[in-house]
Amino acid sequence: MQRYILRRLLLTIPALFGVTLIVSAMVRLLPGDAVTIMLGDYGQYAKDADDLRAKLGLSQPFQVQYVKWIGGIAHGDFGQSLRDRTPIAHELAIRLPVTFELGLLGLIVSLLIAIPLGVYSAVRQDTLSDYLARSAAIAMLAIPGFWLAILAITVPSIWPWHKWTPPLRYARLQDNPSANLKQMILPAIILGIGLSGSIMRLTRAQMLEVLRQDYIRTSRAKGLGERAVIYRHALRNAIVPIVTLLGLNMAVLISGTVVLESIFVLPGMGRYLLDSLNSRDYPAVQAVVLLFATVIIVFNLVVDLLYAWLDPRIRYS
């Protein structure tokens, strides 16, 4: 197991290297650069623009910029933002907990919705409840998160009896847990709803398959209670593919935070990435993407390791 983990961790290095190389190159293919954006209408002064590019290191060849940046990463230095010369690591340290919390809460919400609904739908196959649950899953898949978010913000604000909106000023969890959760809960629910559609459908499908297995019949035949049959025997065997889906959904989860952070005014990584992209802040974009890629890879590694815990037949060697 340890060798397996070590091997997987070592394999993340070339993966992350590849991601940063591709992103670094692609972000530079976008028209314009940070200087174009910073100078805006002043960009006609070519010399000033060139001077600024030289000062920011943008006049160096791509490979030189990349090697310098990756060298800094190796030393734990994410570099400085091209916009205001602030350390990117400082920005990440402030913003990562926001996105992490939102993503985690969204994940929890999605599981709280999807697993029970999927199990219930499978157990009540082809009943009205099943149809309703499946329709709900389709709706959760089809409704865009940003639309739901705008609706969730707007509708309470026009309620005639009590107008309400989520708090606007972000409070850190450690500073004010109550205020933090008040601000986080709505986007987390919307994020969770977006994720839960696919999880619910897969849960239902897996449960239907498992519930037809002989060992389930045997369990019932020997007098085991239905709850134990469903949750101890059926669900545990159905859940491995669901855990896989969770790993794959990590990218969806992250992209969902980008939009929701803007709508709910959360100072997280998603907004930082958007702002950085719009201002062609290459080092910041690269740093955020590197972080996101790391999270996705590590999460998928954890998922793989969970297989062994969930299904003792799986052994890594």
């Binding site: 976008l30 028209p31 314009g32 650069d33 174009t36 954006i37 910073m38 100078l39 805006g40 209408d41 002043y42 960009g43 006609q44 002064y45 000033d48 623009a49 600024l52 916009r83 205001d84 010369r85 602030t86 920005e91 402030i94 913003r95 705008i150 913000i153 707007t154 309470p156 604000s157 026009i158 107008k163 309400w164 909106t165 606007l168 000023r169 972000y170 803007s262 709508i263 709910f264 005014v265 959360l266 100072p267 997280g268 907004r271 930082y272 702002d275 719009n278 201002s279 062609r280």
Partner: protein
């Protein structure tokens, strides 16, 4: 011939910035001075000030405020006018709803004013190192300038009328070459180390000017200035290379902030410590959330700011801001025209302030290359453009017909459909038959097919909708546009700078300047940095240069009207209409007299007070 510098372009808002901020940050409402504030409000210029504009009081006489209200009504629905000509001005007056009854009201100090000011973070806290609009808006709260733009009841949001700020008075030599500014005796830096409340001196002004010339990407802005000297601790003298009529405006523009020398010498820049001499003391900047400021108790305009604290929220999406406005969590925000309609229906208590944007939608090309080197083709395009339909489609029927000078600059704008416009007026009314005839006369009887460039990822939905409408309108007149959308960064770095294939039509937005010279010189002078069309008309060049040195405002205004008549005939650019910008305020926000420049945080915001906020 007077030599003008290419860089001599007073500060401007970028088009993108204006649109994004228009609703939003524009929200920065401000308020003001009801008549009762006169005693504690902006001091009037000291006697002896020779500059005409300096003599203008910063607060209107009570009768003026009352008249503005009486003549236009203060209800939100009355705020905007669809009538393009004279109505533009009345709409501006209507933009001061709080002027109603302001004359007799005593401002109530205290409270926290919450404004949705930005859609994104200020990119830099040092306004000399980043010239984009958010950085300048940030500076407007904390730093002073020698002059600022007037604001108050009866003053239009786009009046851009310079009045004393850090300078208590200024004198202009008869030849227009020397400007002598006398600083206020009570002007002090905010009481934070290392400035610690010391007096603001003429040396600070000179030091700031020199730093600006060294580090600002906009350093060419003051090429007109030959020399700046401090002749005593309170007197600073600017000597120009040649007379320049808009120079007061250049000084009032949000460009030459008086910066804290000791801080920058110690830290290298003004990013770590924000200490100015302006109305607000910087408290904190939570990235992606808010900027918080406290009132400066030592501000030289004693008694202001009225509110104790400012909460400037950074909210990326309009829907969030509107919902929070409805929920009374925000006092002021800009709103789109579609949101405005819904808000008026759902929340009639919210006050809407409308005013024309000083912004140009415009069609351009290279006038030196066919087919646009033929005046008949350019005139045909103008005749094909249905400005009224654009106003209907884009602005719910409320808008203004821009001339070469936008309607937003009301005192310099000549109504292009008015009698004073002369024969050129016909080019601002749609006439498809006349357009087709002109095209036929120019050799395009079978119609004209040209590439068409615009950008769709910068200026927002309204502009994007205008693209589709313009394509349809041109088609009606036999002009087939082959649309080639361009990413904003590519557009601004090439097409906007005049780098595109001759024979191509471009639909874009011109930067909202605060001085007519900026439109005229930049767009029509061979040395203009926004001469997108490559205009090089000796007669027009001479007209533009002469107005720039005309120190008599009345005479200059007539020169600028002549230019608008001439360019109306030439149609070097075909100028589209524009709609209003709307700022929504809660009913308890009083003395709100909007001013649309980037420095408004130090102009009308300190004059706002709250009455009845829970």
């Amino acid at each position: 011939m007077t030599t003008l510098s290419a860089g001599q372009t007073p500060y401007r808002l970028t088009r993108r910035a204006f649109l994004t901020a228009a609703g939003v940050s524009a929200a920065a409402a401000i308020l003001a001075a009801c008549g009762g504030s006169t005693a504690t409000d902006t001091p009037k210029p000291a006697a002896g000030t020779t500059a005409p504009s300096a003599a203008a009081p910063t607060t209107a006489a009570p009768t003026t405020a009352a008249a503005a209200t009486a003549s236009t009504g203060s209800s939100p629905a009355a705020a905007a006018s669809a009538a393009p000509s004279a109505a533009a001005t009345s709409a501006v007056n209507a933009a001061n709803p709080t002027a109603s009854g302001a004359a007799a009201v005593q401002p109530k100090p205290g409270g926290t004013l919450v404004i949705r000011w930005w859609t994104g973070d200020p990119p830099d806290l040092d306004p000399y190192l980043n010239v984009t609009f958010r950085a300048q808006e940030f500076a407007g709260f904390f730093y002073s300038r020698l002059l600022k733009y007037n604001s108050g009841p009866g003053v239009g949001p786009n009046s851009f009328s310079p009045v004393p700020d850090l300078a208590e008075k200024y004198d202009v030599s008869k030849d227009g070459l020397t400007y002598t500014f006398t600083l206020r005796a009570n002007a002090k830096w905010q009481n934070k180390p290392p400035m610690s409340g010391r007096a603001v001196t003429a040396d600070d002004v000179v030091w700031s000017f020199n730093r600006f010339k060294q580090v600002s990407p906009n350093k060419n802005y003051f090429d007109i200035v030959k020399d700046v000297k401090a002749t005593d601790p309170r007197t600073v003298v600017f000597t120009l290379n040649n007379a320049f009529a808009p120079f007061e405006n250049s000084i009032a523009a949000p460009v030459l902030w008086i910066m804290p020398k000791e801080v920058i010498e110690a830290d290298g820049d003004a990013r770590k410590r924000v200490i100015g001499s302006g109305p607000w003391i910087f408290d904190k900047f939570d990235k992606g959330v808010q900027v918080v400021a406290k009132k400066n108790p030592d501000y030289y305009f004693a008694g202001t700011p009225y509110v104790d604290e400012l909460d400037l929220l950074i909210i990326p999406t309009d829907a969030t801001a509107i919902a929070n406005l409805r929920a009374k969590q925000i006092d002021i925000t800009g709103v789109s025209q579609s949101d405005r309609k819904a808000l008026v229906a759902s929340n009639p208590e919210i006050v809407m302030t409308d005013f024309p944007q000083n912004l140009l939608f415009f069609m351009y090309w290279r006038v030196g290359a066919p087919p646009f080197n033929d005046i008949r083709v350019r005139q045909a395009v103008s005749l094909a453009l249905d400005r009224d339909e654009l106003i209907t489609v884009l602005y719910e029927g409320k808008g203004y017909i821009n001339n070469t000078i936008p309607a937003g600059l009301e005192s310099w704008w000549l109504d292009p459909r008015g009698a004073d416009m002369g024969p050129s007026a016909k080019y601002y009314k749609r006439d498809v038959d006349a357009a087709k005839k002109l095209l036929a006369d120019a050799g395009f009887a079978g119609g004209l097919k040209v590439p068409f460039i615009s950008t769709q990822n910068a200026y927002g939905d309204t502009f994007n909708a205008s693209i589709e409408t313009v394509i349809k309108q041109m088609k009606d007149a036999g002009i087939q546009l082959n649309f080639q959308p361009q990413d904003y960064a590519a557009y601004i770095g090439s097409t906007f700078l005049g780098k595109f294939d001759p024979g191509t039509m471009v639909w874009g937005l011109e930067t909202p300047f605060q001085e007519p010279h900026d439109y005229l010189f930049n767009m029509y002078h061979p040395k203009g940095v926004r001469n997108h069309a490559g205009v090089n008309d000796p007669k027009l060049t001479d007209m533009v240069e002469k107005q720039a040195v005309a120190l008599d405002k009345g005479a200059r205004k007539q020169m600028i009207f002549d230019i608008q008549r001439y360019t109306g005939e030439q149609q070097y650019y075909v100028i589209g209409p524009i709609g209003p910008t709307t700022i929504a305020t809660q009913p308890w926000v009083k003395n709100f007299n909007y001013e649309s420049d980037y420095a408004r945080g130090g102009e009308y915001v300190p004059k706002i007070y709250l009455d009845g906020k829970k």
